[in-house]
């Protein structure tokens, strides 16, 4: 397939998202919006006593890139500490998604969940 962005893993995650659910009595909740396309992501986190992620969930809707990113990232940060999450770069996010050379508009889709999480970790 020539559609480099829309590889199988990404489409699969779009159709069958991970951690997309409601997390009752979470410790932190943050919603971010990408006004250029209307992507919305809400992330909820529960911390354990070591300040690491005990549970994480997200909700929202948007394009395949933003939705797949939310699934992959929330999976990746389970058990991770605040500081480790803060250090995740945009580059790393793209690597997790298996994407390279996204144009600036799509880069915002790919990093929307990461931005949301970083606000939680501030």
């Amino acid at each position: 397939m020539t559609d480099a962005i829309y590889h199988e893993l990404l489409l699969d995650l779009y159709k069958h998202p991970l951690n997309k659910r409601v997390l009752p009595d979470c410790d932190a909740r943050q919603t971010e919006h990408n006004p250029s396309c209307g992507d919305t992501i809400e992330v909820c986190v529960k911390w354990d006593t070591n300040n690491a992620v005990k549970a994480v969930a997200w909700q929202g809707d948007g394009c395949a890139v933003s939705q797949a990113a939310a699934s992959i990232l929330t999976e990746k940060i389970k058990g991770k500490k605040r500081n480790a999450i803060k250090k995740i770069s945009n580059q790393k996010m793209l690597q997790l998604l298996g994407l390279k050379n996204l144009n600036p508009t799509r880069l915002r889709c790919a990093t929307l969940c990461l931005e949301t999480l970083k606000k939680i970790c501030r």
């Binding site: 020539t2 559609d3 962005i5 829309y6 489409l11 779009y14 159709k15 006004p35 250029s36 396309c37 209307g38 992507d39 809707d61 948007g62 394009c63 395949a64 890139v65 508009t105 799509r106 889709c109």
Partner: protein, 397 residues
């Protein structure tokens, strides 16, 4: 209409380009590029200033562009003010007219408006305290019953679009303006013709609007060009200049200044001379093609597209009384993904809110994809779009 494509050099340079985003900006025909180049290479000089032959030539070209633009909308030449586009036209009107309004007054807009005909009024309402009212829609069309209820003796301005840049519908402008004259005889009627100007013949006298604005870049002209039409009496006596400086003054002392007659009092500073000349060339290009040919071709294209797409996507907009601006959604696929995948087939279309975010919320849709046509668009290109959409559905659903 394949022959018309030959007027547009981009289609020679970008092989297999399928450009379906003419509502965002149209492509440029060679005659417009030639007009811009001729000014820069053969006779560049400032206008209305020099006494030498070159300056006279530049001034004549600039003023003759005003004739062409006036001719396009059946206005008088002194009723045409060159602007940088629709946004500048609407902001100029909002800034200039709003200080006369107070908390007792209201400005009536519609649910359809582009941000350019909404945000300036919102900002002015904050400063001057007037109320904003919005004419509702009924099955995507402006509801004139709602207009009857909203427009009253305290309505001072009614500003609305002639064609929605999302839904593609042509609004009942003449009826609405007649209604304004009955219910609020002193109100001013402003028409945003940005999306209509390249697709419908406009007669400002028949419309009876007080002001009408449009952009050059949506009618095969240069970016950063545009025009504001105003009834002569209003420009002469009602509207104050928006900008002050050189060119717009008759005489100046250290204490004060007085103005040139309109339209020059509204064109302070060195204008976008090349842009105006290019805009004039674009108006001539449209008139030379002729409205009959343009409208026949575009209505055939629109009918073909609606037929091809109606079973593949959800079309957001009316079937009749519309132009070739077609917003749609595919349940389960985000518009950004639609645009991105079509881009891989060199099909250009827009995804998102199209600078009309409140309309999307009003219609309860998150975002749309939008295909829009120009005179160079062909049925073959629409077929390619339909094929691309089928492929997307296979990938995602």
């Amino acid at each position: 209409m394949e022959a018309i494509k030959k007027h547009f050099p981009i289609f020679r340079h970008q092989k297999d380009l399928i450009y379906l985003d003419s509502a965002a900006t149209t492509q440029t025909p060679q005659v417009v590029i030639d007009a811009l180049t001729a000014y820069y290479t053969n006779y560049r000089a400032n206008v209305h200033r020099g006494f030498y032959a070159l300056a006279t030539k530049a001034t004549n070209a600039y003023e003759s562009a005003r004739d062409s633009v006036a001719h396009l909308i059946k206005a008088k030449r002194e009723e045409i003010i060159f602007t940088s586009g629709t946004t500048m036209g609407l902001n100029s009107l909002a800034y200039s007219l709003s200080p006369r309004l107070s908390h007792r007054d209201n400005v009536v807009l519609t649910r359809l408006e582009h941000h350019a005909n909404l945000v300036p009024w919102q900002e002015m309402a904050k400063h001057y305290g007037f109320e904003l009212r919005f004419i509702e829609l009924k099955k995507y069309e402006l509801d004139l019953e709602s207009a009857k209820k909203l427009i009253d003796a305290n309505t001072k301005i009614v500003s609305f679009t002639l064609v929605s840049n999302v839904l593609g519908n042509i609004t009942p402008a003449e009826e609405l303006i007649r209604l304004v004259r009955q219910k609020a005889p002193r109100a001013l009627a402003i028409v945003d013709a940005a999306q209509a100007i390249a697709h419908l013949p406009i007669d400002v006298k028949k419309l009876d609007c007080d002001f009408l604005v449009f952009s050059g870049h949506k009618m095969y002209g240069p970016t950063g060009s545009g025009a504001l039409y105003g009834k002569k009496m209003l420009l002469d006596e009602h509207l104050e200049p928006f900008f002050f400086g050189g060119e717009m003054v008759r005489s100046v002392s250290y204490e004060s200044a007085d103005w040139m007659p309109s339209p020059h009092k509204f064109e302070a500073g060195t204008p976008n001379i090349a842009g105006a000349i290019g805009l004039g060339a674009a108006a001539d290009f449209i008139m030379k093609l002729g409205w009959k040919k343009i409208q026949n071709h575009e209505s055939e294209l629109t009918a073909h597209a609606l037929k091809k797409l109606k079973n593949e996507v959800t079309i957001i907009g009316p079937v009749r009384n519309r132009i070739g601006v077609i917003a749609f959604t595919i349940p389960g696929v985000h518009p950004h993904d639609i645009a991105d995948i079509l881009n891989q087939k060199k099909i250009c279309l827009r995804a998102g809110y199209h600078c009309a975010e409140p309309l999307h919320h009003y219609l309860n849709i998150s975002a749309t994809a939008r295909a829009s046509f120009g005179i160079y668009t062909t049925k073959k290109e629409i077929d390619a779009l339909a094929k691309g959409i089928q492929k997307i559905k296979k990938m995602f659903l």
